[in-house]
Structure formats: C-alpha cells, structure tokens
Amino acid sequence: MFFLQDVKYKDVLDISYLELSEQEVVCIVGPSGGGKTTLLKLLNNLISVDQGRVLYHDKDVEEWDPIELRRKVVMVSQQPITFTASIGEELKVGFDLTDQEVPKQEKIVELLKRMQIDKDLSTDIDQLSGGEKQRLALARSLLLNPEVLLLDEPSSALDRVTEQKVIEQLVNYAAENGITLIMVTHSLIISQKYCTKIIKIKDGEIAG
C-alpha cells in the first residue's frame, strides 16, 4: 500500500526501502529525534521528500491531490489539538471542516465509550485532562473512517491501564472497519502485544 524508495528528507530521514501493507498494525519505534514523526508526515504529505519516492496505492503521493490523500490517510499529532468548545462539537468538527456528512449520534457515543471517555457530549473541552483530549482526538479521527490512520504516540499522555484499554479498542475498531494503523510508540507492551509489524528508526535510518 505504502512504498518508499530512496527517500531523503533534510538530515532527518534517509530510507532506502520500506513497504507497508494494508490491514496491518504497524508500530514505529526508536529513540526520540530519530525521524519517526517525520516519516508519518511524509506519508500524510504534510511535508514533501527532498529525494526519492513515496507511493500510496502505486501512485506517488506528490501526484495525489493532497486534500484527497489526507482524507484517506489521516494523521493525528502527539499533542492533542482541539478545534471547538465541547466534546460533541469536537467529534463532528472533522466532518464539518471536510464537508462530509456527520455520522449518527449512536456511533459517536459508541466511539466515545470505546475510547474510555466517560463524559457527556456537552462537556466542555477545557475540563478534559491531557489524556482525555488525546483520546478525544483519536475518536475524532476514527470517526472519519480513513483507509489509514497515522498516530504519533497516541498513548503518550495515558496511564498504563488506560493505555492498554484504549489501544486494544483502537486496534479492534481498526480491524472491524478495515483501517490500517501506523503508529509511533514508545511503549514496549503495545508494540509487542498489538503490532503486526515493527519498524525501528534510529538516526533517520531503518534499524530493523
């Protein structure tokens, strides 16, 4: 599905070959500052390679309409960013901003539960903790039902127990809905327990 060849981005990333398949749960691991986030951004075309090619479904990402590509390959940053005032609005904002039809209320509520947010839809976002905001951002992106979801440390603000629950739900939901997951993580438990493929990136290169 994704195919990278001789990719170079500044002094940050240097990948000679990488292939990622559909329906996988790919974990990208490695030390901080190694280029993991940069890799996600390249897949989402939020930045462009200096050299080499990144193909998505056999077509160079540079030839995709960037908006269309990003609607299929959605990325969520590590710092959860919210756009609205309440949980309910926040879960709908992705649809509003991309001019898509908002899903049914039941689906929204279900996803909120699966992401372990035990709050009313009218709850103020300002009242949420960092971890809750992170899960809200996950729910928001899952609802958009992309082909691929790129997650940058989706559980960095969660405690161990919540992390396990959330990632398990995330992986299950992705499998049920045919979403490919590609996530950067520091958690050994996650990468060992849930990932079907692990890519280690160190100093901008694939280390195994």
Binding site: I67, E68, G94
Partner: protein
Amino acid sequence: MNEIMDLQLYQLLAAYIFILILLAIVRLRNLDHEREIIIATIRMTIQLVLVGYLLNYVFDQNNYLFTLLIIIIMESFAIYNIYQRVTGKINTNLKLVIAVAMLSGTLISIFFFLVVVINLKPWYYSRYFIPISGMLIGNSMTGISLGVQRLISGIKEQQDQIRAALMLGVTPERATEKIVNQAFSSAILPTINSMMGMGIVFLPGMMTGQILSGVSPLVAIRYQIAIMMGITGSVSLTIIIFIHLGYKTFFNDRAQLDIEN
C-alpha cells in the same frame, strides 16, 4: 461672512507655542522624546509647505497626467507604509498580494465614487480627485495594515492547529477560516467605530474643513456621509481582496503550511 479667514504668518507662528510648551514639559520631566518632537514638527511643516505649493500648482494645471501621477505616488507610499508598519517578516508573495489588493481595491472605489457618486466632470478634476483619493487610500492603508498584522500573527500563533486540521484533510481555506475572519474584522472595525462616533464624539476633518471655508453644514454633511460610504467601501473591498489571496501565500501547492518562505 462666508469666506475663510486667512491665517497670517505671525498667527501661524503663534501656534508653535503649543510645541514649545510640550518641549518644556518633556524637558522638565526628563522624558526621552525631545528629538522626535522637534523632528516631527519640522517634518510636518516642511511636508505640508511642499504639498501646499505642489497642490496649488497641480490644481492650477488641472491636467489628468498630474492627477494620475499623484495617485501613483500616493499608492506607492501607502503600500510602502504598510510594509513598514507591520511587525514581523512579510513574505514576498504576501507583499505582492498587499500591493494588488491596495491598488485594485482603492482604484475601483475611487473611480466608482468620483464618477458615479460625485459625477465629477471632468473625471480628473484634481481639486476633488486628489483629496478624495487621499482619504480612501489612507483609510484603506490603515485597515489593511491591521488585517495583515492579524493574519500573520494569527497563522503563526495557530500553526499547530492549522497543521492538525491539514492532517485530517481539511483545505487550507477551511483551516484558516477563523483567522481570516478575525483579520477581516480587525481591519474593518476602526472604520465602523469611527462611523459610530461621527458627529457626536468628533467632527470629521473633511467636514470641519468645509465648514471653516464657508460651506453650509448641510452641504458639508452630505459630502461627509458620501465620503464615509466611499471609505467603508474602499476599506472593505481592499481587505476582501487581501484576505482572499493573502492566506494562500502561507501554503505551497501541496497544501502544506510554509511559513518560513
């Protein structure tokens, strides 16, 4: 008495006493602005004397080439002034957008106002054309400066939010919608506020000038109302053109946020 009272030179010199008082206060209080006050006073005096003679000459000639030349000079100064006023770097494309917006917004408004509203004959009648253009260009310059400042700082401060939206497949237009709307408001609000206070809080300069030169207040307000409409139109048109093109200069053709350019 319907004629303006001529101001004699010695009377004019007497008015400089206000500056002397200001200078005395500044010196007594050890404030830092002495130099600036002196320079500003001298500059103002020289600039106005020159403009007085220049306009006198241009009005006498009443030649459309002179009128157009002066409009070009005013526009150039206004655009340059915007570049200077805005703090922070303005990228080359944004500079271009500012120039395009100023030129098209003000020129369309000026010609509409003079030809359709005032029905100026001949169209280049410099005694009307130049001061009215000056008011429209000056106000648009102030408005667009505020809009540019707001757009640049808004995009810079909210770049994480814009990127987060782009990651979801949101278009640059939608991702910057709020910032663009705020830029529009901050550009247009001073004009709206000045309309609110007009006539009660202060008498506008043009109207004051007309009244001093013996025009009936009833005629003066008609002109003032018309010019306020013209100013509002010119400021709005300029800022609309600016924001429609301006936000795009922060993105490349891959819809990536590119604020280092």
